[in-house]
């Protein structure tokens, strides 16, 4: 066991291997599946925490699979951004696991559809665990082809999950989702081919040091970016997202909205601001920023127009993804240090808040049997915790202080104004106001108590349905108050960032 000391980089593979094994077992076995899933989620969180400790004590690490150094072998690596994404996934993943348990248990209670729901639960767990493994693999991997494989793993698992509800609408949406993902993957792969043709290496670190003056590399980056944008659903490539996210089962919506889109975005961001940073031009950044701005406004306006809660939340995802891209043109100013913190913060706050929102939507759906926004009255009396979770998550989505969303927005605004690009700031402000409109449109319905409504009408739902949402919402809220910790992790091993954040840290 000498090989597994705390200093060993081999810890890195645990977040990938563990959910893989758990996924295999949950497919193989008939009983105790939830125990396996819960163990995997907990162990994953533990492993990621260990990795964080490792990072903070020893700095970024690399783990060569099979002991083969690049360019021959595949390398996994940890650094600040990767670990924050892993932490986000682990925490959200644990909450999702618990919520899904509560969700399926509640639905199986319905005798008419029990077998259908059992079937869904039976396949939900292996798909979810393998998806988790894929995500962790994506965040850790440092090999461009391996990244393609993890993307495929995620895409297949996500598409299967999206179709799980069995409704025609969800299957159609899932089919589209799969095709779009496939198109994205193939375009990405074509980019990889161009890259390999030009450089003959696959490792990101080695690619970073390759001279960037070849046209093949630019073409490769363009192709890979288009593929990833398709998967990240940046306007105008977002058409597939709302139906897929809104028609899926509630736990699946959470996974898709909070985690899956973040995976491809994270990869895109890494490629742009780390590996191929030399290739990035200001016009390209401005194009991304413009698309992001359009996404913010368009998504928010669409969200305001929806009549169903889940569709509204799905369009809100489209809008919130725009914030991630609007950070792009601000990167040039501070030599791309600030942009990391904006994006990571935004991603984490959004993951927590959006999961909480979809959980609320799922619980409300279970409770009322529908999610039509106009008829959501009376929820406050029966599901106070759920309503509270919705409110707090909404605060984070709106970017009100002291939520994590606020910190991200603050960073966005201040770098926009510091670089005299005030129009981005304007878009951010308008976006938050629109977010306010759609969040409170639902909130006000929650507060209405219809005539003759008795609060003792129904049994309180299981705590597994309500508490994960509240905890996640709280995390998204307190992310702002404890903002220095993520920034500290982010800056570890990154001298440029460390310099920026040297002031005001604990």
């Amino acid at each position: 066991m000498t090989s597994l000391q705390l200093t060993s980089p081999s810890w890195m593979i645990i977040p990938v291997i563990l959910p893989l094994i758990a996924g295999l077992l949950s497919f193989l076995l008939n009983r105790g599946i939830f125990a396996i899933a819960l163990t995997a989620a907990l162990a994953n969180l533990l492993a990621v925490s260990i990795l964080t400790c490792q990072l903070l004590s020893y700095g970024p690490m690399r783990c060569h699979m099979g002991g083969w150094q690049p360019p021959l072998g595949i390398t996994l690596r940890t650094d600040g951004p990767a670990l924050l994404m892993l932490l986000m996934t682990a925490v959200t993943g644990l909450a999702i696991t618990l919520y899904a348990r509560g969700y399926f248990s509640y639905r199986i209670l319905d005798p008419k559809r029990a077998s259908q729901h059992q079937h869904q639960q039976r396949y939900f767990w292996p798909l979810w665990l393998l998806l988790l493994a894929g995500l962790n693999g994506l965040f850790l991997s440092s090999d461009i082809f391996n990244l393609y494989v993890t993307l495929e793993l995620i895409a297949i698992a996500a598409a299967s999950l999206a179709a799980l509800s069995g409704k025609p609408a969800s299957q159609l949406a899932s089919f589209r989702y799969l095709l779009v993902n496939l198109l994205g993957s193939i375009t990405f792969l074509l980019g990889v081919v161009f890259l390999y043709k030009s450089c003959r290496v696959l490792d990101l670190d080695l690619l970073h040091n390759v001279p960037m003056n070849k046209p093949g590399i630019s073409a490769a980056l363009a192709l890979m970016s288009v593929g990833l944008l398709l998967k990240t659903a940046l306007v105008p490539l977002h058409f597939w997202l709302p139906p897929a996210h809104a028609n899926a089962l509630a736990p699946v919506s959470i996974i898709l909205s909070a985690l899956v889109v973040k995976g491809s975005f994270y990869l895109l961001f890494r490629l742009w601001f780390e590996v191929f940073a030399q290739l990035i031009t200001t016009p390209a950044l401005n194009v991304m920023g413009t698309l992001g701005a359009v996404a913010i406004l368009w998504g928010a306006i669409q969200a305001m127009r929806q009549h169903r809660l889940k569709l509204m939340i799905a369009y809100s995802t489209v809008s919130q993804l725009g914030y991630l891209f609007i950070a792009f043109p601000l990167a040039r100013i501070d030599g791309s240090t600030q942009v990391w913190s904006i994006v990571i913060f935004m991603a984490m706050a959004h993951a927590c808040a959006k999961s909480a929102m979809f959980m609320v939507a799922g619980t409300v759906f279970l409770h009322l049997g529908h999610d039509r926004i106009n008829d959501l009255t009376g929820i406050r009396a029966n599901l106070p915790i759920t309503v509270l979770a919705y409110g707090i998550a909404g605060v984070s989505l709106m970017g009100l202080p002291p939520s994590g969303g606020f910190i991200a927005k603050w960073l966005l605004l201040s770098s926009a104004l510091a670089s005299s690009q005030w129009w981005w700031a304007l878009v951010v402000i308008i976006g938050s106001l629109l977010a306010m409109t759609y969040v409170f449109r639902v909130m006000s319905r929650f507060f209405v108590i219809p005539e003759g409504y008795s609060s003792a009408k129904s049994t309180p739902p299981s705590p597994l349905l309500e508490w994960p949402a509240l905890v996640l919402a709280m995390i998204s809220l307190f992310l702002g108050l404890a903002a220095s910790w993520p920034l500290y992790i982010l800056s570890t091993g990154n001298p440029a960032l460390a310099q920026v954040f040297s002031g005001g840290l604990p």
Binding site: A381, P384, A418, A425, M436, F440, F447, A483, F501
Partner: protein, 498 residues
């Protein structure tokens, strides 16, 4: 953490913790809830008085929580925050008592009192905020916590009012956020200081700073109900009376006015603003608001709406006084009106609520002879109304006296003119109410007589207005004493070295 920091934290927690507990209290346990509320508010008053004493003797209360570089939360007890905090906490106690009586037997009280407590926590947070970011934090939270109170009745009308309130308040908040960020990128951290930021920035960024000042004033002006940003306030009248009292006297409108004071005195500083030359703008808008509010109030028959427009008018006295920042007397008049207006307006709203709850009277045309049925309530109302007009020895006279003196000292005769016209208008819309109620003849039965008992109405509804009415006279009569709002305001103005 030293004792001063603990004190600051416990001032906030003294209403926050009861609020959180109250959310979980079952609906029918009203004794527990009332007990929690009263304990919390009395404890808060005691703590704030302790802080006031400390501040008077020069102790520095400060607590910092850095979030990211350039963004930190800062709570800071200075004389100005003590003024607002004391006012809010005292009025909160009275409003709580009133609300307990007012909402007896109505549904969803746990929610109501929960949000009520949170709302006061946030207001005290605004009072204690030591930089613009903290101010912004609590300012936005105030919107969030008052929203459920405004839509408490859950009717379509209240939802509509609530939506408009949100749109106004969050738009203001967004403008404010933009301005804060812009200001920070120029001058760095925006901690409140008695002199404002260094005047060297004026040389380099004069135009931008002037624009930012306007944006900041727009941001807080929404809550302070400056014309044309006042639209939400009359609509918010659909809320229950204690909420109106909260909006008009304790928290929301006051937070806006307080924000104007902070921005003028602490963020920009008197000297910088005089250099920038943007103050006449503020004074002009304040004057317009004063006149506009009074004229609109004249047209209203609904009692609460008339009071709402009266608030719009009266709160701008504060802005008017502050806009004459080079005249200490005017500043004193403005600052002291923060307290005085709160006392008078809360009295009026309590009384209006009493009329509505006891006799179902909502309109002025229904008030003939009501003073014979409810003499104490109408006596309190009359004191409040006379104070609004500015009759000595009420507190209203003190405010207007100082404002007028300040205006004269600055050679701004128009200030005196505005005051005179406004007082005349005040008289025009309050005196008819008084004559109707005291000397009018009752026209048929009351619209809806809800309470018949030993007193004219429930004791918990009657006591708070009497207490505030008493303070309105007492604080005016002893304005020159050692302990009075005026004395404290003088202390503040001395600190600013005006």
């Amino acid at each position: 953490m030293n004792w001063g920091q603990w004190l600051l934290v416990s001032i906030l927690l003294s209403s926050f913790i009861p609020g959180i507990i109250i959310f979980g209290v079952p609906e029918e346990k009203h004794r527990l809830r009332t007990g929690l509320n009263l304990c919390g508010s009395i404890l808060k008053i005691v703590l704030i008085l302790a802080m006031d004493t400390g501040i008077y003797f020069g102790h520095n209360f400060e607590i910092r929580l850095p979030l990211i570089p350039g963004v930190e939360l800062l709570l800071n007890g200075d004389p100005l925050s003590a003024l607002f905090a004391t006012l809010s906490s005292v009025l909160w106690l009275l409003t709580t008592i009133y609300a307990v009586g007012y909402l007896e037997g109505s549904p969803n009280r746990s929610h109501f009192f929960g949000y009520f407590s949170l709302c006061v926590t946030v207001t005290i947070g605004i009072a204690l905020a030591g930089n613009l970011i903290t101010f912004l934090l609590f300012y936005e939270m105030l919107t969030l916590t008052t929203y459920p109170l405004i839509i408490h009745r859950g009717t379509e009308k209240s939802l509509h009012a609530g939506r408009n309130y949100l749109i106004y308040a969050f738009s203001g908040g967004a403008v404010f956020l933009f301005a804060v960020v812009a200001l920070q990128t120029i001058i760095g951290p925006t901690d409140f200081a008695t002199t404002g930021f260094p005047s060297s920035f004026i040389d380099t960024h004069a135009t931008v700073l002037a624009v930012i000042f306007v944006l900041l004033i727009i941001g807080v002006g929404v809550k302070a109900a400056l014309v044309p940003l006042h639209g939400w306030l009359p609509q918010a009248m659909v809320a229950p009376a204690p909420v109106s009292a909260l909006l008009h006297a304790v928290a929301v409108v006051k937070a806006g006015a307080f924000g104007i004071i902070r921005i003028v005195l602490d963020v920009y500083g008197a000297q910088n603003l005089l250099l920038l030359g943007v103050l006449p703008l503020l004074g002009g808008i304040a004057s317009i608001t004063i006149l506009y509010g009074s004229i609109r109030a004249l047209q209203q028959d609904d009692l609460k709406r008339r009071l709402a427009f009266s608030t719009i008018s009266q709160v701008s006295y504060i802005a008017l006084g502050i806009s004459l920042v080079d005249q200490p007397l005017a500043v004193i008049g403005g600052l002291v009106h923060l307290v005085h207006q709160g006392l008078m307006k809360i009295t009026l709203f309590f009384c209006a609520g009493n009329l509505a709850e006891t006799l179902g009277i909502h309109r002025i045309s229904e008030m003939d002879g009501v003073a014979r049925r409810m003499p104490f309530t109408m006596a309190a109302f009359s004191i409040g109304a006379l104070g609004m007009i500015g009759i000595p020895p009420t507190v209203g006279f003190v405010s207007k006296w100082y404002l007028g003196l300040g205006g004269l000292a600055a050679g701004n005769w128009w200030v005196v003119l505005i005051l005179a016209v406004s007082s005349l208008l005040n008289a025009c819309y309050f005196l008819p109410i008084l004559t109707r109620s005291w000397f009018g003849k009752q026209q048929g039965p009351w619209p809806e007589e809800l309470y018949v008992g030993r007193f004219e109405t429930r004791l918990m509804l009657l006591t708070p207005p009497l207490v505030t009415a008493f303070i309105v006279i007492a604080a005016g009569a002893v304005a020159n004493a050692q302990i009075s709002p005026l004395a404290w305001v003088r202390f503040i103005v001395r600190k600013y070295g005006l």
